[in-house]
Assembly symmetry: C2
Homo-oligomer: 367 residues x 2
């Protein structure tokens, strides 16, 4: 690996400087309009190219067309409530699951990672996971075609990781992840196990698998594709979404800084406050903003509207143009978004409450 | 690590050139007469210093004296029948288990290693394992105080391996094992998980654990002791036995060369034949042997008598002296041993047959 092609760090917290460069370097394909419209349904994340790139997404298009089995898979480290970043992945799983009755959604609760990395005991992460799965259900996951499991209980993944370890060299791991503590390589092999699980005999054998991820997780995708070839499995497909920035705009939204993130369990009033202090693309003064217009490209509030909270393209375009031309000030946007978000949270939290029992039985039922 | 302190290879097949040097280098303690007689019962392997070294064996002596819990643990890769080498470990487990009613014997069926290293499917290794466990029972294992498990089914070991991986650096692994493919480090962490399993909450918490092993497995013991300190567990104890040579005397007995090993499933007639072609310490001619005496130290037949088949020390001493003085020829020894072995195998195989159902239920019962 040459110095100018530095590995992406799936465990880091910085935003990639330049998506384009990363895509070219690692051979990620751009999302095209043809591909967007090849699906039987549409989704704002696809239409707006928040899902900006992919690997072999056409495999899923083909499966849907031929009415053949495919899987969508992702997971979460159960260390806290769903935030907007984990919600985006959840929405993708739910969308791609909904496109065919031959689909299965796999969702891994990475409780061993929560234990090893964060010292969270399994009983504690179990309770957090119940909340996460209830969020997933409230967002629309079809429980009838979902396989939700905890790492600590899933023997098949452990078996896969063990077998895959025989086929990977240190130089491959170092080329993909950079030099790392062995725990990361260990964890990477287990994540490959998670990604391959839908293709095991226990789950009906080889099939296309779509993994919706941030581009920072691409190393796991590349390692999985590498290993798939060696074990005659279908190389997993991936769809890449832009990383969700923190409300203050500095880094990717993560549980490490609770004040700059929004969770689905936030009190709606608190959520409104967070929006009011979020980073915008506003100018120094009202006068300046009326004259020059705002900069929606830099604005976290506009990003939240685009990625999460405004469904109608026409409405979003209106916000964009009004901002650009100085007709709308940051207060207008914040007020509008605060209203949408607080209503969304109230409704979501109510739905979630009614689904907690189902979530618990999904997690505990297969023991 | 300096060049003169080369790591031992637990996956290799060569015999260590010099036990003494290894012991000094790695801080293994010598077996003393005091320690041998500190146990409430005696065993030929202890008395004859076939168990020539140990680490913290006194912990087990103490546990027995104080009537406190301890565990004995070992395991097998289920790739074939018990041979004399695996039988020796089994005998040690059974002996140390028998010394107290506070003991538990743990026995790991390393079916994931059989899958990853030897490509043996889990269903196939399961059947092999049923035979192995039946051998263990026929040799005298007390099933009431035994925990026998398959790697592929044991989630707690997987959890331990995952957690332990956070505390071990590559430089530690390289210092202990030498530079190796990542699968060996992966496997090493799982073996540490096996060794620590008896100390988990699920198994009653921290306690002394004795691992009877060949000195080639000492790297796993050292890594386990290193990790135990970091997780406030009792550093595992070990007792080291001499490696069982192949019948032809070149390398350690292993399943890789079936013609030079003896298994507990061998047809007694075949076993006799193998003994007749085993390496001895005999001289070039009868005349020479009568004049100079034989060399029992080099003789595999005498080793089999010492390690496995002659219980009475007085009888063994007689064989030794008669050989040394030229009063006894190799044919005499082979004839005597062939008779003992063929009777032993017949009796063992009969016992084993009656225990296969119990073995199967022990392996399948806890699913």
């Amino acid at each position: 690996m040459s110095d100018d092609k530095r590995p992406i760090d799936p465990w880091g917290s910085t935003l990639p400087a330049d998506y384009e460069t990363l895509m070219t370097e690692f051979g990620i394909e751009q999302m095209t309009n043809e591909l967007v419209s090849a699906f039987p349904l549409t989704h704002r994340l696809l239409r707006r190219k928040v899902e900006f790139g992919h690997r072999d997404l056409w495999r899923i298009v083909e499966s849907i067309k031929k009415n053949e089995a495919y899987a969508v898979m992702s997971g979460i480290k159960p260390t806290g409530d769903f935030h907007l970043g984990t919600m985006m992945t959840a929405e993708e799983i739910i969308f791609y699951q909904s496109l065919s009755d031959k689909s299965v959604a796999h969702y891994c609760i990475a409780d061993l990672e929560a234990l090893a990395d964060n010292g969270i005991p399994l009983e504690e992460s179990h309770e957090i996971a119940v909340g996460n799965v209830a969020d997933l259900l409230a967002l629309g996951l079809d429980a009838r075609r979902a396989y939700v499991y905890k790492q600590s209980e899933e023997k098949v993944v452990q078996r896969l990781a063990f077998v895959f370890s025989t086929s990977v060299t240190f130089s491959t791991l170092e080329a993909i992840y950079g030099p790392k503590h062995i725990k990361y390589y260990f964890s990477a092999l287990i994540q490959v196990g998670d990604i391959m699980l839908p293709q095991t005999e226990e789950h009906g054998g080889p099939k296309p698998v779509l993994v919706p991820v941030g581009i920072d997780q691409d190393p796991h995708i590349r390692l999985s594709r590498d290993i798939a070839k060696k074990f005659r499995l279908v190389p997993p497909s991936a769809v890449f979404h832009k990383l969700t920035r923190s409300l203050l705009g500095e880094e990717k939204m993560s549980k490490r800084n609770p004040m700059s993130m929004m969770t689905l369990s936030d009190n709606p009033k608190l959520a409104e406050k967070k929006i009011w202090s979020a980073l915008t693309g506003g100018r120094g003064t009202v006068e300046e903003q009326r004259r020059l217009g705002g900069e929606p490209e830099k604005c976290v509030v506009f990003e939240l509207m685009t990625n999460h909270f405004i469904e109608e393209d026409e409405e979003l375009r209106k916000v964009y143009l009004e901002c650009r031309t100085g007709a709308r000030l940051c207060g207008d946007c914040k007020s509008q978004l605060a209203d949408i978000v607080s209503k969304f949270l109230m409704k979501h939290q109510q739905k979630k409450e009614g689904l907690t029992d189902l979530a618990r039985s999904m997690l505990e039922g297969r023991r």
